[in-house]
């Protein structure tokens, strides 16, 4: 029986019962959680079938291989995990290697208890566990070395994979200790917790921009992505997707022309009980080129289903209708009495903000390879959510999820798209139907039209200002599809303040900002029509990508209406009162840093140019990275906007890898720019109209402005950096456009027509 299946037991996910085991196996030192079934065998196993099965292993040659339970989609998280282990272990960086974990529950996130990568959570949630794993290994190696050398362990120092006894000048390398078989210490959960970790002043690795382990393989073509999986004897699948995004069914398939394609094997109409896909057919052939030809030759007729007439406009109209109803949605925030405060306010501002449907479009189109071997279904695919995706693959196969082994690959971009498992359904059902492994590759057209997109959003914000120009009330309604509710996992939903049942906080996060506003409510309203017609997903930064568009634009509108400088107005709202204590001050400081770096208020700008600011606490209130942006734009009389410079400051607490943080923040800021200015998808007759990079146009090199990044590391806990900067850019640009031209834009993406239309005549 497959060892992996034995490991799938409920106990295996209960961390509290585990003890951390350090012991030497025949081939090396394995470190991880004891009590995980299978570890005993791993330790006892012969070299030939030994698999490093927990966080890291040290081979007799001294190489340390860290297994990363997180999807690596370019954030270099595997390398980061190795760096955290390396710091406490005392290994030499050039001895570190990385490995990508399977879906074995023992690789579950130590905090989340599942395998999921998102929310910019990885570093902050794994820092402690990886540090303790590294420290435990160092202690075990040191004790082993002490025994071998016959000296007290306390007199040994560890550095660069060497354990040194200064007095006697004796030394042993990690490799020597592993070969000696003397590292046998076991740690209980309590002992692990009691390990004294280094303090930041003792760090020699954390905070250093070590070369990322994965980068060389990404310059010579050797990094293996899901797309690159080759299984002997495999066939290829090309999918035929319906013109309607969701809800269509296949009425009939005419195979006659497909049968004439050389190499054609079979066409399979998916029977997807997981309801991840609707109305899909997969054409299987001996090569991908032939599978594509066969797919093109299939004549499929559809029943378009209930969403076949819907358009972006219908989704927006429905959102507006729902927002007007008093009993729509649930409250995410309910402080004070905004209705009363708005009633007595000296001035009330009201505005609607929208964002379009957006497509993830990672450079690597979706793909998956499925292989049935005995009882086991093997899935090879780069995926961000092995725990759920494995269950979907199992559902597509009609087997128990414990029989699914997910083989993680490097991800050719994730951005939230690979939290979903749709690509596995055709691979599994095709493999089952043809009795061979099948690799399914989406065309870019499949990938774009069947994306789990960022939903179209509609937000209505009302703000009340008192006679002194003080913001006293803010009422904020957010209407959207609910991407996370779609998962059907109650743990990912949040209780509503008005106890009207759980809500999808991933549609409203960010709206619970750190400004002090005595009367504040936020309503999360699910747009059921959009939810059904455009099944939505988590797109890099998720809700803060739209909530801060509304909040940070409205704050600017209030500042303008009360004659205040928008940056100073924000600073006055970030007073740190009550629940905002701590966060508000950090956000204020970050805003000041961005202003300083950009020269905000110190430069006289030519006519038609302006600067705008925004500051955000993305992602969630509890996991915020404090981020601020100053955008510098030029607006032509035609409404054409040129973004000249983005200055982004971000407070990340502790920097594990400064250079990577800069890369992530810059990438995120440019994503923010791309979403603000260039990316727009539309729904027509139930289908996404944009099919490739001619219709859907992410930022290109020629559109890149100057980007300045300031990273603030003040010694607080490390926070996420992959997403927050996405959310701060659009409002900063919108506010800069207002500053430059007096035109207030409220719809993303921003178009020249909208700017021109909003200019005062």
């Amino acid at each position: 029986m497959n060892q992996h299946v034995k490991n799938v037991t409920p106990e295996a996910t209960d961390l509290s019962r585990r003890s951390f085991l350090v012991g030497t196996a025949a081939t090396g030192l394995v470190l991880g959680y004891a009590g995980v079934p299978g570890i005993g065998e791993a330790l006892a196993a012969a070299p030939a079938n030994f698999e490093p099965s927990v966080w890291y292993a040290i081979a007799p040659d001294g190489l340390v291989t860290v297994t990363c339970g997180k999807a690596d989609m370019g954030q270099h998280i595997a390398s980061t995990m190795a760096q955290i282990v390396c710091e406490e272990l005392g290994a030499k960086w050039s001895d570190m290697r990385v490995n990508l974990a399977s879906n074995d529950p023992k690789f579950n996130d130590p905090v989340l208890g599942a395998q999921i990568t998102g929310g910019s959570w990885s570093t902050m949630m794994n820092f402690d566990a990886m540090s303790r794993a590294g420290a435990a290994g160092r202690m075990a190696l040191t004790e082993g070395a002490a025994a071998s050398m016959g000296v007290p362990a306390g007199e040994l120092t560890v550095r660069d994979s060497m354990i040194v006894h200064a007095k006697s000048k004796k030394q042993m390398s990690f490799a020597d200790v592993v070969k000696s078989g003397k590292a046998t210490k076991t740690f209980t959960a309590d002992e692990l917790k009691a390990i004294k970790l280094k303090t930041p002043d003792q760090y020699t690795m954390i905070g250093v921009s070590v070369p990322q382990i994965d980068i060389p393989s990404k310059t010579n073509g050797t990094a293996k992505y899901g797309m690159d999986v080759m299984i002997p004897g495999m066939a290829y699948g090309a999918v035929v997707t319906p013109p309607v995004r969701y809800g269509a069914t296949v009425k009939s398939v005419d195979y006659s022309d497909a049968k004439k394609v050389p190499g054609f094997i079979k066409a399979v109409t998916l029977d997807d009980k997981t309801q991840t896909t609707t109305g899909w057919v997969v054409a299987v052939a001996n090569t991908y080129a032939n599978a594509k030809k066969a797919a093109a030759a299939l004549k499929v007729s559809y029943d378009g289903g209930p969403n076949a007439k819907l358009s972006s406009q219908s989704l927006l109209d429905e959102a507006k209708r729902l927002q007007k109803l008093d009993d729509s949605g649930q409250f995410f925030v309910k402080d004070g009495d905004p209705a009363a405060a708005l009633g007595t306010a000296a001035k009330v501002l009201e505005a609607e903000y929208t964002t379009s449907i957006n497509i993830h479009a990672p450079m690597e189109p979706m793909n998956a390879t499925a292989e049935f071997k005995g009882d086991i279904l093997h899935i090879y695919s780069g995926n961000q959510f092995a725990t759920r995706s494995g269950a979907i693959a199992a559902g597509a196969a009609g087997i128990d999820p414990k029989f699914v082994v997910m083989h993680q690959m490097w991800l050719g971009g994730g951005f939230g798209r690979r939290l979903d498992a749709d690509m596995m359904v055709p691979a599994v059902q095709a493999a089952k139907a043809v009795g061979k492994p099948v690799k399914v590759i989406y065309t870019r057209e499949n990938d774009m039209t069947m994306d789990f997109s960022r939903p179209l959003t509609y937000q209505k914000v009302k703000a009340g200002v008192d006679g002194d120009g003080k913001l006293v009330a803010l009422s904020h309604d957010v209407v959207s599809a609910w991407p996370t509710q779609r998962w059907g996992i109650p743990d990912f939903l949040s209780p509503s303040v008005d106890k009207k049942g759980p809500l999808d906080a991933f549609t409203v996060n960010g709206s619970d900002f750190f400004y002090t506003v005595p009367n504040h409510n936020v309503r999360a309203i699910k747009n059921e029509m959009a939810h059904n017609a455009t099944p939505s997903g988590q797109l890099r930064s998720v809700a803060p990508g739209w909530t801060f568009w509304a909040v940070e634009s409205m704050i600017d509108e209030i500042a303008a209406a009360t004659g205040k400088d928008p940056a100073q107005f924000r600073i006055s709202l970030l007073d740190g009162a009550g629940k905002n204590d701590g966060g508000a001050q950090r956000l204020r400081n970050t805003l000041l840093a961005a202003m300083g770096l950009a020269g905000y208020g110190t430069k006289k700008l030519p006519k038609g140019e302006g600067m705008g600011v925004a500051c955000v606490s993305s992602q969630e209130r509890a996991t915020a990275s404090w981020t601020a942006c100053v955008a510098h734009v030029a607006v032509a009389p035609s409404g054409e906007v040129t973004v000249k410079k983005l200055t982004v400051a971000t407070d990340v607490g502790t920097q594990v890898h400064p250079d990577n943080i800069r890369a992530q923040v810059e990438g995120a800021a440019l994503w923010g720019l791309s979403l603000a200015m260039y990316e727009k998808a539309t729904l027509k007759d139930g289908g996404i109209e944009q099919t490739n990079f001619d219709g859907y146009r992410p930022l290109r090199m020629s559109q890149m402005p100057e980007v300045a990044v300031a990273v603030i590391a003040n010694g607080e806990k490390a926070t996420g950096v992959g997403e927050p900067a996405v959310t701060v850019v659009a409002p900063a640009i919108g506010n800069a456009i207002f500053n430059a031209s007096g035109a207030r834009v409220r719809a993303l993406p921003i178009t020249a027509e909208a700017v021109k239309g909003a200019m005062k005549a």
Partner: protein, 163 residues
């Protein structure tokens, strides 16, 4: 069965003449460093060299390149040490890395002709290559670094040359 000359080796591939070179290289000859991104000439992920020119292999048919010299990322240098590859590591360019084979192949065709490009020339040459991770500024820096290295190397070579 067309015969292709790839990275200096002659290989026959069981594919119809109208098969995109991309799929023959990747899936049949299993040199997977060349990537599929759009299949429509819009992203550059599939860039290879044909007789030294950067072409989109998704838009190039197998039948049209028989007998021509094809170079993929695997064949750009013997040990992954083309000045561009070294510069890509020095500048830590790749994020997900998926677009980078195409970026490097596209850049290599520029530097082969012009080892002292201006920023504008770089942008014009590279604008067809999308990077969804938005590593553009590092790509620019790495190209400039590699260009400098190539100029220095050839200057050193010139000095040694007997006059």
């Amino acid at each position: 069965m067309p015969t292709l000359t790839i990275n200096g080796r002659s290989m026959s591939v069981d594919a119809a003449n109208d098969t995109p070179l991309l799929w023959a290289i990747r899936e049949q000859l299993q040199m997977t460093g060349t990537k599929f991104g759009c299949g429509a000439g819009l992203c550059g992920a599939c860039t290879v060299h044909v007789n030294g020119e950067a072409v989109r292999s998704c838009q190039t048919m197998v039948g049209d390149v028989a007998g021509k010299k094809i170079t993929t990322i695997e064949g750009l240098s013997a040990k992954g040490d083309h000045p561009l590859q070294k510069a890509w590591i020095a500048e830590q360019v790749p994020q997900c890395g998926y677009c980078q084979s195409g970026q490097i192949m596209q850049a290599a065709s520029l530097l082969a002709k012009n080892s002292n490009p201006t920023k504008e020339e770089v942008v014009a040459h590279m604008d067809g290559n999308l990077c969804r991770c938005m590593t553009y500024s590092r790509i620019q820096k790495a190209i400039m670094r590699a260009a400098t290295e190539m100029r220095t190397a050839s200057a050193a070579g010139n000095e040694r040359r007997p006059t």
